[in-house]
């Protein structure tokens, strides 16, 4: 008989299999000895912690590999059979956006992965080979593989050409969003993953459950994929990033300025007392940097000062 530590590891492996069904046998084993539950939970949690640390590291590593000049040329050659990608590769190269075939060891066979990334302040629309369209906000990274897209960071809106036989899917970590003929927006940040649907319907698969979102619906899922209860009727992410008129329903200044940075590429630091203030309304982000800063000052009643590497926003001091 194996020592209980090893048995616990075996059960943890089994339980991590999405198709695992023998929960009652697991329960019997857990009940057989009071140490079993402790060992089992420990193994599950530690492996989960390690896996999510590795996953985060994969994402940041593949980002470092993005090199605008060398890699776009590589992609253009690799994908030369597919005209859409050729076009996307060239326009991306002109815009200084990196598009590369992903050299990581994930995903061994089949069509190669294409990485589309934007810097803060860069917007980009790309037509995929199936004629679905993707609009990327700034500071965003997508890995595309056929009709499977991984959103590694940032925000993108998808207008999907529906194909019953080959569903279009967007993955964020373990969360899967599948279209049912649709326009939808996905955004990932420290708070979690936001999905908002503007037309049609998507199916979201997360944390072992599957649910549908229709036009006008949105959800916020935490890292583990569980819906965040506060999102029911709570503030959503900003809308209008494509037009440059960012509309917020009720967001902290920290969130607002993160959106501004992503959309414009302007680094703005907040005086510490400001981060928790909240804002509802529309910010206009058109024009030059000076105009954007001036508009922000007026709309938010703040005063901006230049500092090394960007701007700092402060509460105006009486004079």
């Amino acid at each position: 008989m194996k020592p209980p530590e090893h048995q616990a590891v075996d059960w943890a492996i089994l339980a991590d299999d999405p198709a695992f069904a023998d929960w009652e046998a697991l329960e019997s084993w857990l009940a057989a000895d009071s140490r079993h539950a402790v060992l089992f939970d420990r193994a599950c949690l530690r492996v989960e912690e390690a896996a999510s640390a590795l996953d985060r590291c994969d994402n940041s590593r593949s980002l470092r590999l993005v090199d605008p000049v060398v890699s776009s040329a590589k992609t253009t050659m690799a994908a030369s059979k597919r005209r859409y990608w050729l076009a996307a590769g060239i326009s991306a190269a002109l815009a200084g956006i990196a598009v590369i075939s992903q050299p990581l060891m994930k995903q061994p066979a089949g069509p190669e992965n294409l990485v589309i990334a934007t810097r803060a302040g860069e917007l980009r629309s790309v037509t995929l080979p199936d004629r679905s369209e993707v609009a990327l906000n700034g500071d965003t990274k997508l890995v595309v593989r056929g009709r499977e897209v991984r959103l590694e960071k940032g925000q993108a809106e998808f207008a999907v050409v529906h194909d019953e036989a080959h569903p279009f899917s967007v993955r964020v970590g373990s969360i899967v969003i599948r279209d049912v003929g649709t326009r939808f927006d996905v955004r990932v940040d420290d708070l979690g993953t936001r999905v908002s649907v503007s037309e049609g319907e998507v199916e979201v698969q997360a944390a072992g459950r599957t649910f549908k979102l229709g036009a006008g619906d949105r959800t916020l899922l935490d890292r583990g994929g569980s819906p965040t209860p506060s999102e029911a009727g709570g503030p959503g992410g900003a809308t209008g990033w494509q037009t440059g008129q960012l509309t917020f329903e009720d967001n902290s200044y920290a969130e607002v300025f993160e959106d501004v940075r992503r959309r414009t590429g302007i680094a703005i630091r907040l005086e510490s007392g400001l981060k928790n203030r909240r804002f509802a309304g529309t910010l206009s982000l058109g024009g030059s940097e000076a105009i954007i800063i001036a508009n922000l000052q007026t709309t938010l009643g703040l005063s901006a000062r230049r500092e090394a590497g960007g701007w700092i926003m402060e509460i105006p001091r009486g004079r």
Partner: protein, 178 residues
Amino acid sequence: MQTGGNTGEHAGASLSLIETFMLYRLAIARFITVRCGEEAEDLMQELWIKIQQVDTPVERALPYIYRMAHRLVLDSRRGASRARDRDYAWSFATGRLDDAETAMAERALIAREQLDRIDRTLSKLGARAVRVFRRYRIDGVEQRRIAVELGVSISTVESDLRRSYTVLSSLMGERDDA
């Protein structure tokens, strides 16, 4: 009185989640209780609420419910680190930002050290075992497919997983005890 347990084989298919939950309440409660005794009642309540919110048909209801219960247990087991997050949120909300920022920098440092340790430990097992672990635990690919992908037997995949899970459980353990 229902008896719950040991009839899982033919459950699910035609039963809705709610019916299945009703039918297997006791077995599911046992599964939760054996892992987190005093919290079990709250978790059962949370599970019941979550089940009512699922609005798509589920193919195999019973395993689905058990997995939800399993996730809930693990979430509550992670309680200690959640409490740290709450402290952080609190210092942020009350404007004690210096504290919060220091805590954040410390945590980033700890995360980096932890990642280095994971990397070093896993790579000792060899490239194939690392690959198997990533495919199984991060990409969610089933063992049979991994075996085909890598051109190895299923028992090789099993033993690779056993090795990586074992070292990771004890590695992360070192830090907890520190």
